[in-house]
Amino acid sequence: MSIPKFIKLTTTAVPLPIENVDTDQIIPARFLKAVERKGFGDNLFRDWRYDEQNVPVGSFPLNDSRFSGEILVAAKNFGCGSSREHAAWAIFDYGFRVVVSSFFADIFKNNALNNGLLPIQVSEEFLRKVFAAIEADPAARFEVDLQNQTLTILSTGEQTSFEIDGYKKECLLNGYDDVDYLMSIRPEIEAYESVHRA
């Protein structure tokens, strides 16, 4: 088994300058009834994207024709709340490959990394620059280079580096899957179990 590989990406970005975007907004609970991992992108940000009559809300960035691309840029504490991995699935299924924020909720970050969706944490200052670049030109392009751990605003040349755990970086670059790894060390786990008292 494998996860989608992530190496390098050059694309435009969609701005969502809202803080504390919780996973109930990303995908409301009433859409969690599926028993397969399919089609969650249709309901990404459902209650922000559509009004009560299911009409798209024009002012919401995902409905704003000026914005497109594979990077979602959000204000701090993105992905807080429920642990539902459906949130990461919905963002990926919609077509995003990267989420940029000044910080992520812990569970969301793990869920994203386990699905080939790269969460990039930048400083508040750099985040403002990213928002400003999109505001100045919605067609502004960005480059994400995972090997070198850099995010570049191509229109201004401004660049920042980002942190990523070395193990997860290898997983993303190569499409490795944690479950395969854990199953491969079964003898070590069994040795632990033989001396561990639950």
Binding site: E19, K33, E85, F103, K168, K169, V179, M183, E188, A198
Partner: protein
């Protein structure tokens, strides 16, 4: 240097450490429910493997179950299919499942402790962020995603970076009418909905020690609402007394030996935490939230704050929240009309919550315009409430008990608050649409909820019930 409680439990469960800071962590107890497990089971099927340690795994359907007529087939097709698929998966993998309607059924974080499956010193995970509840026993318990559920299924281990440690000390005695829920809402209002991110919290201090086991669960339950990976409390006599004699707890000599081990679970005097906060219980009032994240809480007698000092996205988010709630800065919370009251959830769905609510409303009547949903956290809570005659006291005051489930906490089943309506809710999240599209949630403890239910507005339980 000494070790923290968290370090002691975590370190005892590390099978191996990887370069880059991740650990392979052994998991003692894995709780599962119907919403976050199906894709993990599917993953196992695709790999052609079975659950490695079914005996360490317990399932109960809760998120998506109806809270009335549980003896009938579930009406909504997708929900029914999800529940059927859950029971089938449990059967195929030899996992014990407390099925809908059975005497041990209930909300996963209520039944685990109730059955004695949750014990001090354990590592516990579940595909649900409120797994932090079990930290009340001195366990390292945290919520995980579905990929991680699959990891635990396949290997009984999980790959995790070790969080930082934080200690939150609440000194002194709490005032009358102040519940455990008020303590945790106060803490989150002080450190914000993201103040605990990256950390594992230990709650300490006199006001925490004074809490019953159920109250401790309420506090640890909401650790995630300040962004923390989990929260825990060192086990003591209160813990041992609660665990003693429960179904799955060690019995007889085994229990005594276990208690000797559990007594070692505390933070050493010279242990260092990455972050510390100290609060005084005397400053805590009955609380209520006015906004759309659990950090937006204030004393029930206070007014909606202003945007002073906020800028940029902080300011945008603050105004978005007030607009959603239709509140204005400077308005008093007291006297605001409300439409719904929800008592229940893994935060406040235990017997002590029902006792507290019932005793408060005894001799009062539910306000006519208020719809109240009282949803016990488990069949055992429901049975206990009836055995104690709480159902009769509640009926006298115009309330009735529903059947157990997560219900209006996340409104995944039919229990949805209509758009624009105000709900005083003992659950854990006031996010936009959490209790139904357009629903406006005011988080509170059981006493503030009781005061709202009988007056039909936001009221101070100390006044309404002469506490």
């Amino acid at each position: 240097m000494g070790k923290t409680l968290f370090d002691k439990v975590w370190d005892a469960h590390v099978v191996k450490s990887l370069d880059g800071g991740r650990s392979v962590l052994y998991i003692d107890r894995h709780y599962i429910h119907e919403v976050t497990s199906p894709v993990a089971f599917l993953g196992l099927k695709n790999r052609g493997v079975k659950v490695a340690r079914p005996q360490n795994t317990t399932g109960t359907p809760d998120h998506n179950v109806p809270t009335v007529n549980q003896h009938l087939p579930v009406a909504e097709e997708q929900s029914r299919l999800q529940l059927e698929s859950f029971e089938r998966n449990c059967r195929e993998h030899g996992i014990e499942c407390f099925a809908l309607g059975s005497p041990r059924h209930g909300v996963v974080h209520i039944v685990g402790p109730e059955q004695g499956i949750t014990q001090p010193g354990m590592t516990i995970v579940c595909g649900d962020s409120h797994t932090s509840t079990h930290g009340a026993f001195g366990a390292v318990a945290f919520g995980i995603g579905t990929s991680e559920v699959e990891m635990v299924f396949a290997s009984q281990c999980i790959l995790q970076p070790k969080p930082k440690t934080m200690r939150i000390t609440v000194n002194g005695k709490r005032g009358k009418g102040v519940t455990a829920k008020d303590i945790i809402l106060y803490i989150i209002s002080q450190i914000s909905a993201s103040g605990g991110t990256g950390h594992f919290i230990e709650f300490a201090g006199e006001a925490i020690r004074d809490l019953s086991m159920e109250e401790r669960m309420t506090v640890c339950n909401m650790s995630i609402e300040c962004g923390a990976r989990g929260g825990m409390i060192a086990p003591d006599q209160t813990t041992f007394d609660y665990v003693c004699g429960r179904n799955r707890a060690p019995q007889g000599d085994d229990f005594d030996q276990a208690v000797e081990r559990w007594k070692e679970l505390y933070s050493d005097a010279d242990a260092r935490f990455d972050k510390e906060y100290t609060f005084d219980a005397a400053n805590i009032e009955p609380m209520i939230t006015y906004g759309t994240n659990p950090g937006m809480g204030i004393g029930v007698t206070a007014a909606v704050p202003s945007d002073e000092g906020l800028s940029g996205s902080d300011r945008i988010s603050f105004h978005k929240a007030l607009e959603y709630m239709d509140f204005k800065s400077g308005e008093k919370m007291l006297g605001k009309k409300i439409d719904y009251v929800f008592l229940g959830s893994c935060t406040n769905g235990r017997i002590e919550d029902f006792r507290q609510f019932a005793m408060a409303v005894k001799g009062h009547k539910k306000a006519e315009h208020v719809t109240a949903w009282l949803v016990p956290g488990s069949k055992a809570v429901e049975a206990q409430a009836r055995a104690e005659g709480l159902d009769k006291i509640l009926a006298e005051a115009g309330f009735e008990l529903r059947q157990p489930g997560c219900s209006a906490c996340l409104a995944m089943n039919a229990d949805k608050i209509p758009a624009g309506k105000y709900s005083v809710s003992t659950s854990n999240r006031n996010f936009e649409g959490r209790q139904g599209p357009g629903a406006r949630t005011l988080l509170a403890g059981p006493l503030v909820a009781a005061a709202a239910a009988v007056t039909g507005m936001i009221a101070d339980p100390r006044e309404v019930f002469n506490l």
